[in-house]
């Protein structure tokens, strides 16, 4: 009996060892190998906000999407140039946005309430673009926009506008369409 255990124990241990390695590498690799990740599923372009489904009519863009909001997405690709994100603050609605890296980590998020000078104005720049931007900054002026360097060169932005009352979906969608999200070569002076 004990001889049988002695024979199988190393194999069982080796099996668990392999299982552990396979499990850990599968978990760690998943954000980088899964093709249908959140970036791919949401779509969008780097020129303007694309509206995402209509959860009230059963078109849900991602799990746990809040149906009280109209949701839109836009992408950025810093290799094509810096991306500018601008939104005026709607009257009494609410607008919020989260910026995600290529693997879906929300590295920056804010709402209209946290916005400075009544505007959301964000420039997504790569470290090199930031450098050339800072080199051309006037000496004594603070930049208008908030400059962020995303962890990855591509990624996406999810913008949410509150539907204040049933029937006000159009107003929320209009607020989303008014959000400016585009490449901004003027940042590379």
């Amino acid at each position: 009996m004990s001889r049988r255990i002695l024979f199988w124990a190393p194999w069982a241990l080796a099996c668990l060892f392999v299982a552990g390695i396979v499990h850990l590498s599968a978990v760690l690799m998943m954000p980088f190998v899964v093709k249908s990740d959140v970036y791919a599923r949401l779509g969008g372009t780097n020129d303007g906000v694309t509206l995402l489904g209509d959860p009230a009519n059963g078109k849900q863009a991602f799990p746990f999407q809040d149906p009280a909001f109209a949701t839109g997405v836009c992408r950025f690709d810093l290799d094509a140039g810096p991306q500018r994100l601008r939104a005026a603050i709607p009257g009494d609605g609410m607008l919020s946005l989260a910026i995600y890296d290529r693997t879906g980590r929300a590295f920056y998020s804010t709402t209209d309430r946290a916005a400075l000078r009544g505007r959301i104005d964000i420039a997504l720049v790569s470290p090199e673009q930031l450098e050339s931007l800072e080199a051309s900054d006037p000496e004594d002026a603070t930049p208008q926009e908030l400059r962020l360097t995303p962890p990855t060169r591509t990624g996406f932005v999810v913008v949410r506008a509150l539907i204040e009352r049933p029937g006000m979906e159009d107003a929320a969608q209009a607020a989303l369409r008014a959000v400016e999200c585009r490449r901004d070569k003027s940042l590379l002076r």
Binding site: W11, A14, C15, L16, F17, V18, A19, G20, I21, V22, H23, A26, V27, L28, M30, P31, V34, S36, D37, V38, R41, L42, P55, G58, Q60, A61, F62, P63, F64, Q65, D66, P67, A68, M94, S96, L97, A98, I99, Y100, D101, T103, G104, R105, A106, F107, Y108, S109, T110, T111, R113, A114, P151, V158, R160, L162, E164, R165
Partner: protein, 212 residues
């Protein structure tokens, strides 16, 4: 002649060869079994929502790290596999309840009453989700509620009923069958997204009523 000379040596060699073959077979079986078990554990731990980093307040669970740059590897894998765009911590705090306060899974067969205050926030939404965070399509009424639409009594208190069929007052429709989850999202919450701050938040109580 040369062959017959070689013959005496072939016998012991052959016997020595027999053991390695079974060892190779065992090693291969070990590898395959390890692979299968490893993938099985991955499937168990990824996709049952988030395994780690939960902050609890009553029946409500928040995962403050999913809305920032540092989700743990399991949360990252889950978000990737299920295509979840988590709410950013700068936007608000997302809470999910899959059980009532007594720890029983929320079921479409029962009525539930939500009472008590919600934490300070600009506003909140309460939403009924089916399995996997899907919105309920076949419910008999509204499945989400905005704080500004909540009816309150003279003392300013509100209670919300979650049930399959229509109720007076604040009512959210539960799915006709099966388990469900409730999400309470605080937008522009004054509490910060840290486990200790979340644990001290007074979240609504979820009490089970009648069951069919």
């Amino acid at each position: 002649m040369k062959l017959s000379q070689a013959a005496p040596f072939s016998q012991p060699l052959d016997e020595e060869m027999r053991t390695p073959i079974s060892v190779y077979a065992l090693a291969l079986a070990t590898l395959l079994a390890g692979f299968a078990i490893g993938l099985f554990i991955t499937d168990l731990t990824v996709g049952r929502l988030y395994l780690f980093g939960a902050a609890r307040s009553g029946a409500w669970i928040a995962w403050p790290k999913t809305g920032a740059l540092d989700p743990d590897p399991y949360a990252r894998a889950t978000m990737t596999r299920d295509g979840i765009a988590p709410l950013g911590n700068g936007e608000g705090l997302f809470f999910l309840a899959q059980t009532d306060d007594a720890g029983r899974a929320l079921s479409g067969n029962c009525d539930y009453m939500l009472t008590g205050d919600t934490p300070a926030a600009r506003f909140w939404t309460l939403t009924v989700y089916g399995p996997g965070g899907r919105l309920v399509a076949d419910a008999a009424g509204p499945t989400h509620l905005l704080s500004s639409a909540v009816l309150r009594n003279e003392k300013g208190q509100a209670s919300i009923t979650v049930a399959r069929s229509a109720r007076a007052g604040n009512w959210l429709a539960a799915p006709r069958e099966g388990s469900f989850a409730l999400a309470l999202t605080l937008y522009d919450a004054s509490a910060s997204a840290t486990p200790s701050a979340i644990a001290n938040l007074g979240m609504p109580k979820i009490t089970r009523g009648d069951c069919q």
